[in-house]
Point group: C2
Chain length 191, copies 2
DNA sequence: CCTACCGATCGGTAGG
DNA sequence: CCTACCGATCGGTAGG
């Protein structure tokens, strides 16, 4: 077995793992180094600061969620179809990139003001996709008339974001079952 | 205006505030001291370690949620009444003790193994109250027959726990509106 | 990626 | 609650 040199991507990925598990401030550069089999100081051959790593992980999360939303918004068919696509895409992002998703959701507030603002904007845009689809669903009669898209999008996203907290790859619900259960729950809540 | 000496409770309360805002590892004893107008080292007249403060805040959170659940379970009437009492109690705990709730929900994992186990047990018991009431609702016909109390309790708690992330005292929804919206959403999801 | 560091900050203590 | 510290650890750098 050959031990290969680490790439910048390896470092970012390991950072995501530790940031997700212990938090940004709970992870030292030495922790991260030993996770990769090297010294903390050696990491600076790949990145110029610890904050840089957080930025990289969080912005990857932002990109993944944004891509999922764009994809769902482009789905032709009923608002119900797009709503399910939003949920399905969200589940995929979380279970396929659990560390990135957890860091995005829990550690973005540790970013400096500038970067945090951009993440907040990305988050607002993502929530906007849900609001849009829910509003379409209301006006086309798929959802109840008294549904407020703004409040409802927060509630639906609450259920989806919490996945990060309890999802286990070896749990009783696989991807499809998860999407089914979540779609049923959320759609019922709005119908 | 007289400046009074701080009590242990003042220290624990300020710790909750900073732990909620910056995280446990993002808060230093010197940060906490200056929040109270004293030196970091002076805090050791009130507490014996930083971990102790986290234990105090998190266990207060556990007590508050447990008391709320006990209260809701004792409500006579329909399962729907008890379900609403669970939601109403949860909202009260969160908005009246936002820092404690946030620390309980986000920083408990920073506890040492022993204390964390106790918190996990408290959390399981709290979720159990939701499971029980939902199961009652299913068997008495208040909720759909195909509802799984285990999965549903996680979903409902996801929505409630997320309150910590977006609730603002000066937001458009006051306590009663919040309870109404959340009860409607959750009850619809299960009906 | 390592060696050999740096100044700053950390949680915490002794003694008053 | 302060003064005066302690050893450990932090993020990061220079030079190879």
């Amino acid at each position: 077995m050959v031990t290969t040199r680490n790439t910048r991507d390896d470092v970012v990925q390991a950072a995501g793992r530790l940031f997700a598990e212990r938090g940004y401030h709970g992870t030292s550069m030495r922790d991260l180094g030993s996770e990769l089999g090297l010294l903390g100081s050696s990491l600076y051959a790949h990145v110029s600061s610890k904050q840089d790593l957080l930025v990289d992980v969080v912005e990857e999360g932002a990109r993944l969620f944004e891509a999922s939303a764009q994809n769902a918004l482009a789905v032709e068919g009923t608002p119900g179809d797009r709503f399910r696509a939003l949920i399905s895409g969200h589940v995929d992002v979380v279970i396929d990139n659990i560390d990135v998703a957890r860091t995005f959701l829990n550690e973005a507030r540790m970013l400096d003001h500038e970067h945090r603002s951009r993440v907040v904007a990305a988050r607002d845009a993502y929530e906007g996709a849900f609001r849009t689809v829910i509003a379409q669903g209301v006006s086309e009669g798929y959802f109840r008339e008294d549904i407020d898209p703004k409040t409802s999008s927060i509630f639906v996203l609450s259920v989806l974001n919490a996945l990060e907290r309890w999802y286990r790859p070896d749990g009783p619900l696989d991807r499809d079952a998860l999407v089914d259960e979540l779609s049923m729950f959320a759609a019922s809540a709005l119908s």
